[in-house]
Amino acid sequence: MAIAAEPIDIAARRDPSASVVNLRDSPLAVHELTVSYGEKPAVFSVDTMVPPQSMTAIIGPNGAGKSTLLKAALGIVPRLSGRVTVFGQPVEKAMHRIAYVPQRASVDWDFPTRVIDVVLMGLYRELGLVRLVRRNHRERALSCLERVGMADFADRQIGQLSGGQQQRVFLARALAQNADLYLLDEPFAGVDAATEKAIIDVLKSLKAEQRTVVCVHHDLATVADYFDHVLLINVRKIAEGPVATVFTGENLQKTYGGRLATTHIDQLKLPVG
């Protein structure tokens, strides 16, 4: 699309090496990843290399394989083919450096447990099978709840939370893992404005702490505000790189096909530039 041609050139000239990442340093590098649930592949031969200490958004239409890409990278769903490295190591050996936040709707919130117990699940690697939960574990879990503004809810049953509160509890559990790479699946889906603000503040603070954040994201209007790097996929990879150069109308059109109305693209001209 003509509207986007110019920004690409300008940004590329300004910073030609913006998307060049060393495999050794990349918190998440995926090589020719293919995943299939039935006969049709959900993710086909996707390559990506997330830059260190970036905030990366994975963008694409429904059914484009965004969540599947994350789950397959983590080995939660089987990979048909492909290699995944985390900080230069095979992902299986680096799982302790990753915190994963699944989609809020993927669990049953009627499960009989309290908010603090969910956050303590983030300490599973430390606690193992039989180690007792001590005061310092509890205090750490509470401080993670504090960070997402949910400390007052520690003793609530999780079924009593609103959608936004549930999402913050999931984020607190990930914070308890004290990871270097945070993978979040749709953290802003169906949350209230206050929660969205709270979550993005925490994610930005993670970046400030030299950690890397990767989100499956669906709200195109906030991409430029929240993220510095994007991966556009629709089963196959469409484009990847800095938001300024890659998040363009032309690439979005390629990613979403006919599903993205031109009016939508016009709205996006503003944030995209």
Partner: protein, 308 residues
């Protein structure tokens, strides 16, 4: 309560309580995983497996029965998959068709084979033989310290105690992985829990409970105890730890109350026959669940507004 109680009622009561607890413990997790039907399926499929194991080995003993039940479970899984694929039927229906057919096949097989020498017949398969598991050589409470009398305790008691003890121990050791993978399987596997092995382990433990309980108390109790005490317990509390405790309490209450009512209830009503203890225990567990549905503190959450 004296000598007669120890001789005639103590061991059936203990076996009933242990069987109820052994089934209720894994039942808690099956229900939370929305797999309650699996407990039902296992307890049905166990029958043809046990009959075939008996026909092959000619004896009723624990290991061949366990292997037979495991073999039958594998056959059931294959049949369910085949029906789903070939018949294009939804999974619940495929399961329902498979395990009732296998159970019926087991009943037919049992009728046609000569099991007169052992405690294995159709009635047995359904109700067990709880009332007959008496402690003949007991002469009173003092027999509990008498080595000769203790050696005469029915072997079902030790088998059931071992199964219940093993299941309680496994639940305790694998508490965190079980709870975590039941709540959030994706997260659980991301923190290194082998979730497929946990799911399989849970089903295997449920099968062990079903096989151990089957011989002593029959499949009616097994089916009821997998579901009723945990379901009632869920309505009493919002914490899994407390739910497990409630389910054990309800299982125990069902077994004791059911046994007593079966033995004395008809007498109180003027009839002269006792009724099946297994049937009464299962009925009591159902009544407890009904009361929990009506009066338990955490039943209101059903249908409560969820999410944003």
């Amino acid at each position: 309560m004296g000598a007669e109680f120890v001789q005639l009622s103590l061991t059936p009561l203990l076996i009933g309580v242990l069987a109820a607890i052994a089934c209720a413990l894994p039942g808690n997790f099956l229900i939370l995983r929305r797999q309650a039907l699996i407990g039902d399926a296992i307890s049905h499929v166990v029958l043809p497996g046990i009959v075939v194991a008996f026909l092959i080995t000619g004896v009723v003993s624990t290991w061949p029965m366990l292997l037979g039940a495991a073999g039958a479970a594998i056959v059931a899984v294959i049949i369910i998959e085949a029906i789903k694929r070939i018949g294009r039927i939804e999974p619940g229906a495929a399961m329902g068709v498979t395990f009732t057919s296998l159970f019926a096949g087991g009943v037919l097989l049992l009728e046609q084979s000569d099991t007169s020498a052992v405690h294995l017949d159709v009635e047995h398969a359904l109700y067990g033989n709880l009332e007959s598991l008496i402690w003949l050589s007991a002469e009173g409470w003092s027999s509990l310290t008498d080595a000769a009398a203790l050696a005469d305790l029915p072997p079902e008691l030790f088998r059931m105690a071992a199964a219940a003890g093993l299941i309680a121990l496994l639940t305790l050791i694998f508490w965190r992985p079980l709870k975590l993978s039941t709540f959030d399987e994706g997260f659980a596997s991301a923190v290194g829990i082998p979730t497929a092995a946990v799911s399989l382990g849970l089903v295997v433990v449920a099968a062990v409970a079903a096989v151990a309980a089957f011989d002593a108390v029959g499949s009616i109790i097994v089916i009821a105890m997998f579901i009723c005490p945990p379901a009632a317990a869920r309505l009493m509390t919002n914490r899994l730890e407390a739910q497990i405790a409630w389910s054990v309490a309800f299982a125990t209450l069902s077994a004791v109350l059911g046994y007593v009512l079966a033995g004395y209830g008809p007498l109180w009503l003027g009839a002269d026959n006792a009724v099946s203890a297994a049937g009464m225990i299962a009925t009591v567990s159902g009544i407890i669940l009904a009361f929990a549905c009506l009066f338990a503190p955490h039943r209101a959450r059903i249908g409560a507004p969820r999410g944003a």
